[in-house]
């Protein structure tokens, strides 16, 4: 009798089942497919399946000239396209050993920070929407619109800008650029506290994010989680600080670090980073030096034989370009180190034992852009 009872209990015990979250799902933000192993609502295992938007960009790069590669990088992390352009340009410029005018460096830095702001604004809106507060989405877009307008005036494109070319910029900045950027800073310094009021200080939001998806500093380092996601765990990994490029050595800013490593820490890191970005733009916008906006390079760029590596800090973390050149007009092999891929690898570690709703929160605080992961 007792045996039968035990058998019944075993049968009644919950069994694991699988759910395909994605490739079409509202909160995977693209075509990411997660195979969740669930016990009721509790997540036992998360297995990301990639490849739904793989376009073999790295292979395509082997057949393109260095000017053309810039345009391919736009299509990876489309939200921080300027930084990706910059990474390739800096790599090529290092290889060619050309000296870049100060004006170019400053403009590149300003636009990088504007791109970072626009990316974080979009992330903030989507973060709120993932947690059920749909209104934040439109608030984020409202402020982002001003930045994309500035970009449109500067280079004609709003999202995939391709503003950098090896040796400088495609065009000089628009005469209105400084005025509009300053207007935006004044506007956004008023609006950023509103973000805190609406979402960060909300009791439900804090309950949903505090202590959820904890990633220790050791894990962050071993998984290579960089960017605000890594800094939320106390991993000091800001490329702008450790390997400064462009105009970053000249400006003063703080590297935002938090110790908790939970969703709220990662969230707060990004919000504080927005303040720092505003701070950096503030320092540079009035001090754009006069000079050329590009150095004339050869029409067909041929890098000397060798290996070149350049990393930059995108809105999501450390982005690296590794170029192996055999002296021809296109690279022999090119490898991108994308932050999204490494950040995603820590998802399983963070979300085990959480609920489905927590997984959504964790994914939003990692700020994944799927084309960046798949390339």
């Amino acid at each position: 009798m007792k045996e039968i009872e035990e058998q019944e209990i075993q049968e009644l015990e919950s069994q694991e089942y699988f759910i395909n979250m994605g490739p079409q799902h509202p909160s995977t933000h693209g075509v990411l497919r997660l195979v969740l192993s669930l016990d009721g609502e509790i997540i036992r295992k998360v297995e990301p399946h990639l490849g739904y938007i793989h376009r073999s960009i790295e292979k395509m790069c082997e057949h393109d000239s260095y000017q053309q590669i810039i345009h391919l990088t736009d299509r990876m992390d489309y939200l921080s396209c300027h930084m990706l352009n910059e990474a390739v340009c800096l790599g090529v410029e290092n290889g060619l050993e050309v000296e870049i005018p100060e004006r170019v460096k400053v403009i590149r830095t300003i636009i990088s920070e504007l791109t970072r702001l626009s990316s974080h604004q979009l992330w903030w809106g989507v973060m709120g929407m993932d947690l059920g507060a749909i209104t934040t989405f439109l608030y984020g877009f409202r402020d982002r619109e001003m930045i994309t307008d500035i970009f449109e005036e500067t280079c004609g494109a709003r999202l995939t800008m391709s503003y950098n070319i090896p040796g400088g910029l495609m065009f000089d900045i628009h005469p209105n650029f400084q005025k509009r950027t300053k207007d935006f800073i004044v506007h956004f310094k008023k609006k950023l506290p509103e973000y805190d009021k609406l979402l960060s200080d909300n009791v439900i939001f804090r309950e949903r994010t505090r202590g959820i998806g904890v990633l220790s500093k050791e894990d962050a380092i071993s998984y290579g989680v960089t960017g605000p996601s890594g800094r939320g765990s106390g991993f000091s990994c800001d490329v702008r600080k450790h390997n400064p490029y462009s105009a970053y050595p000249k400006v003063e800013f703080r590297e935002i670090l938090r110790e908790e490593g939970d969703c709220f820490a990662r969230y707060k890191c990004r919000i504080d980073e927005m303040w720092e970005s505003l701070n950096i733009i503030d320092q540079l916008i009035d001090n754009i030096p006069e000079g050329d906006y590009k150095v004339q390079t050869r029409t067909v760029i041929k890098l000397p034989k060798g290996e070149f590596y350049q990393k930059v800090e995108t809105a999501r973390g450390e982005f690296g370009v590794y170029i192996i050149s055999d002296g021809m007009k296109s690279p022999y092999r090119l490898k991108f180190r994308s932050p999204g891929f490494s950040n995603l690898s820590a998802l399983d570690k963070m979300s085990r034992g959480c609920k489905i709703a927590d997984l959504v929160a964790i994914m939003s605080t990692l700020d994944l852009v799927i084309p960046d992961i798949d390339r």
Partner: protein, 361 residues
């Protein structure tokens, strides 16, 4: 215009007109049909008005315009959407339990119909006046959860099933709080009959007369009824970012529209109950001693008082939805069982004491 102040004149004259021409059983039948048609029209109008209101209000909160193209100010947008839904193919999942799948939307609609029939809209405009009115309304409105559970179960979709299970846990829990917060006021009225409750507020609404416990009960009612109607921040059953669309993921066309319509009808029902019990139903707002002011308040017909209060409650619910993030399922249940329910029980005891001592106004 006399009937605007007392619908008894209108309904009475219709009754007389019919009685003069037909036998009493036929009269009853005809009147029943008239009432049923009226409620169906009310349902349709509610759907149109509330969907439009939700769109415009959410647009207002989100600094955009909302629908503007179809009709003046986008007023015909909802009608256009209904026509679109009518023409859509009602897809049924291959593995779905077809009978239950088709039955579920109707159960939800029926529960909404049953509940709406017992509401006192204005003086003399009250289809069913039981002496257990409140009990009846809360009983039939909780039938809706069966529809949700059936929808989730029969869709043969794991997202739907999770959504339905969440919804079951949520509605059953929050039903308690809704019931208890209403009981807090019923302690004072001494009657479950909705018309008696409204009349007992002729000299002041219960939210003002019942001191602090009434206010607490009202707040709890607002929270719990928002949860009971499955609306944000308690929309876990649908939870777009987690479960795509929760229990109605697999529904399309008019069956989806039924779920949608039932949500808005339920919102109207809980708002109406709240307005009736806490905010004086169709009674005007009086301030003691201000005779001129009170006369002006009297001039506004009761039906507008009722609809105004309901609109206020619905606006509050929409405000919640477009502001707050969603709760997690365990937080939702913690909120109910660890906070709302104990507060409610203490509140009831305090209210009973106040009632016993006759300290209320």
């Amino acid at each position: 215009m006399k009937f605007l102040y007392d619908f008894g004149y209108l309904t009475g004259s219709i009754h007389e007109w019919l009685s003069a021409r037909m036998d009493p059983p036929v009269v009853t039948l005809v009147e029943t049909i008239i009432v049923a048609v009226c409620f169906m029209i009310l349902f349709a109008v509610l759907g149109l008005v509330l969907v439009y209101a939700e769109r415009k209000i959410s647009a207002f909160f989100q600094q955009r315009l909302g629908p503007m193209r179809v009709g003046k100010w986008g007023t015909a947008q909802t009608i256009a959407d209904v026509i679109k839904l009518l023409f859509k193919e009602p897809l049924v999942n291959k593995d779905a339990d077809k009978f239950l799948f088709n039955l579920a939307p109707y159960i939800i609609m029926i529960s909404a119909f049953l509940a709406i029939a017992a509401l006192p809209f204005a003086k003399g405009l009250h289809a069913l006046d039981f002496d257990i009115g409140i009990f009846y309304v809360s009983a039939v409105s909780s039938l809706g959860v069966i529809g949700i559970l059936l929808a989730g179960w029969s869709s043969s979709n794991k997202y739907s099933l999770i959504g339905a299970m969440r919804s079951g846990a949520q509605i059953i829990s929050y039903e308690l709080s809704v019931g208890l917060s209403l009981l807090t006021i019923i302690v004072l009225t001494g009657s479950l009959q909705l018309s008696t409750i409204v009349e007992s507020q002729a000299d002041g609404w219960w939210i003002f007369k019942g001191h602090l416990p009434a206010v607490i009960a009202f707040l709890i009612f607002m929270i719990a009824s928002t949860a009971e109607t499955n609306r944000g921040p308690f929309d876990l059953a649908e939870a777009e970012s987690e479960l795509t669309a929760g229990f109605h993921t697999e529904y399309s066309g008019m069956k989806f529209a039924f779920f949608f319509l039932a949500e808005f009808a339920n919102m109207f029902i809980v708002a109406a109950i709240g307005a009736t019990v806490f905010l004086g139903g169709w009674m005007p707002f009086y301030i003691g001693g201000f005779t001129g002011f009170n006369a002006v308040m009297d001039f506004i017909p009761p039906i507008f008082w009722f609809l105004g209060k309901v609109a206020f409650m619905i606006f509050m619910m929409m405000w919640f939805r477009w502001t707050f993030p969603r709760l997690r399922i365990d937080q939702l249940l913690t909120l109910e069982w660890k906070y709302l329910l104990p507060i409610n029980l203490v509140n009831i005891v305090v209210m009973a004491f106040i009632g016993l001592m006759g300290w209320h106004f």
